[in-house]
């Protein structure tokens, strides 16, 4: 059973996306598409033919597979419903962040490869955001890693809930990092194809058919993974420490509640905030970075 917990992320990630969209639509007074809409979209895209620009090289064709497999590899490291995760010897939190970075790197290359103006724009913006987000994510995870005495994510999740000022600061910084990484308002607008505002959409604009399905699916998975990591690291309540059926059933139920909570939170932020100007981003991301820095410092000073 513990060998297959990463499948939960692969299979359920479009559902989370659908739930967020539905909740957001309801909050804004619209009916919105059903929560299974992302699945239909993926199936539709998988059936379709692809249009590929003839100036592209092998990078453009390899990128969807690299992005998808790297995200699957990342989800194998993360404990979802039990900390008895057999693949956690593969890597720790630091490896995980760089597996994400590998995907972002190839996406940026591929969007440059198609040689359109929007691709270059999107990749340049995405790299700017990625540079600002990466140290922030690292620092906020380090707080938890120091207190657990390990960078292994299962070990951190297994060390239980720690309630201290430094962890609250780190969690706040991590939430900002999640918003930036998943391309949500106020950093990026996931619903638009307007050239002035798009970051993530600009990068996948040249993709169609099966490749687009892979890219989108990887994006949904990354979003769910980041939610899972946030709970594993900062709020590991209810996650099972064994592989018995009763414990797993319990922890699955709690996991669903946690994901639902994150979906509501994201929908709430997206409905109440306006998108920020791109050049204002360094100030909010810088603020979150300082918060992560303070969390590590406070942890070192207070010892908790």
């Amino acid at each position: 059973m513990q060998y297959f917990q990463f499948l939960i992320i692969i299979i359920l990630s479009p559902l989370i996306q659908g739930t967020i969209k539905k909740l957001k639509a309801n909050m804004q007074g619209r009916v919105g598409p059903g929560i299974f809409q992302p699945y239909y979209d993926l199936i539709r895209l998988l059936k379709k033919d692809m249009v590929i620009s003839n100036v592209t090289s092998w990078i453009f064709k390899a990128t969807p597979y690299i992005v998808f497999t790297s995200t699957v590899a990342a989800s194998m490291i993360v404990p979802v419903i039990t900390t008895e995760s057999p693949f956690d010897v593969m890597g720790d939190v630091i490896a995980l962040i760089y597996i994400f970075a590998l995907g972002i790197f190839f996406m940026a290359l591929a969007s440059l490869d198609a040689a359109t103006a929007f691709g270059g724009e999107g990749s340049s913006r995405e790299m700017t955001v990625a540079i600002l987000v990466e140290p922030m994510m690292m620092l906020s995870i380090f707080t938890a890693a120091i207190s657990a005495g390990s960078t292994n994510i299962s070990r951190i999740a297994g060390s239980g809930l720690i309630f201290s000022p430094s962890h609250v600061l780190a969690l706040t910084a991590f939430l900002v990092a999640i918003i930036a990484e998943t391309g949500r308002i106020p950093v990026d607008n996931p619903d638009t194809h307007l050239e002035l505002t798009m970051i993530h959409e600009g990068m996948v604009l040249e993709y169609s058919g099966r490749y687009l399905a892979l890219m989108e699916w990887a994006h949904y998975m990354k979003q769910m993974l980041l939610f899972t990591i946030a709970f594993d690291i900062f709020f590991p309540i209810g996650i099972a420490n064994n592989v018995e059926i009763s414990g797993l059933a319990m922890s699955s139920g709690i996991y669903i509640l946690k994901m639902l909570f994150m979906a509501v939170l994201m929908a709430l932020i997206e409905s109440t905030r306006a998108k920020m100007r791109f050049f204002q981003l360094p100030s909010i991301l810088g603020g979150a970075f300082v918060m992560a820095l303070l969390s590590v410092l406070t942890y070192i000073m207070m010892g908790k």
């Binding site: 360094p282 100030s283 810088g286 603020g287 820095l293 303070l294 410092l297």
Partner: protein
């Protein structure tokens, strides 16, 4: 109740909150939000004193807490808000350095203070971390004063410094004698009123609250 305060490390949370409101000052550009950050800082300071008073059973600290709340939490912010309204400046435009840089520098300041005061030599009994935080707040207040152009933001920087000093004194000695504290607070109140009137006068004479413009006086 006492166990509850200890278990949830309420004192640590409040002292970190005091630090965060000071650091957040560096990211705020609207004068109203700067005043709000200062108000929140003073309320946290007052509640910290009240909680320590409760934990230690020192009744005279309740008076200090109440006076802090009244002067720094209510009167001074009220007055600052009026000045902001009168000088009709809502944005602290073109500071000397950018938002992100000033945030980073204040983070570095905190790091420097934390590392140089690593071991709490002076322990007042309720927490060994409050002194570091108070010194960090003093430094951040000083930093705000030297990086802002507007007279009113510099006043807020001074007020942050004073909050830091108050917290430092409190963490070392459990509060100075009430008479001295009252004197300092009254001084502060008068200082803010005088500086506020100055700001309004500067604004009236130069049509700007920007202190850089004062060099125009040179013949």
């Amino acid at each position: 109740m006492k166990n509850w305060i200890g278990a949830f490390s309420v004192i640590d949370f409040i002292s970190v909150g005091i630090l965060i409101t000071a650091v957040a000052m560096n990211a705020l550009r609207r004068l109203e939000s700067c005043v709000k950050a200062y108000t929140l800082n003073s309320w946290l300071l007052s509640s910290l004193i009240a909680i320590v008073a409760f934990m230690m059973g020192e009744t005279h600290l309740y008076i200090a807490s109440f006076v802090t709340l009244l002067s720094k939490g209510i009167l001074i912010p009220m007055f600052l808000r009026r000045i902001v309204k009168q000088i009709k400046v809502t944005h602290d435009v073109d500071p000397y350095i950018s938002n992100a840089l000033s945030l980073t520098i204040s983070g570095i300041l905190v790091a420097v203070v934390y590392t140089s005061l690593k071991e709490g030599i002076f322990v007042a009994g309720f927490s060994k971390n409050v002194l570091q935080i108070s010194i960090a707040v003093i430094f951040i207040g000083l930093f705000i004063m030297i990086t802002r152009k507007k007279a009113i933001t510099q006043v807020i920087g001074l007020l942050f410094m004073e909050n830091g000093l108050f917290l430092a004194g409190f963490s070392l000695t459990f509060g100075m004698p009430t008479v001295i504290e009252l004197g300092v607070l009254f001084d502060m109140l008068m200082g803010v009123i005088i500086l506020g009137i100055f700001t309004i006068q500067i604004r009236r004479a130069f049509a700007s609250a920007d202190l850089d413009k004062l060099t125009i006086l040179k013949g």
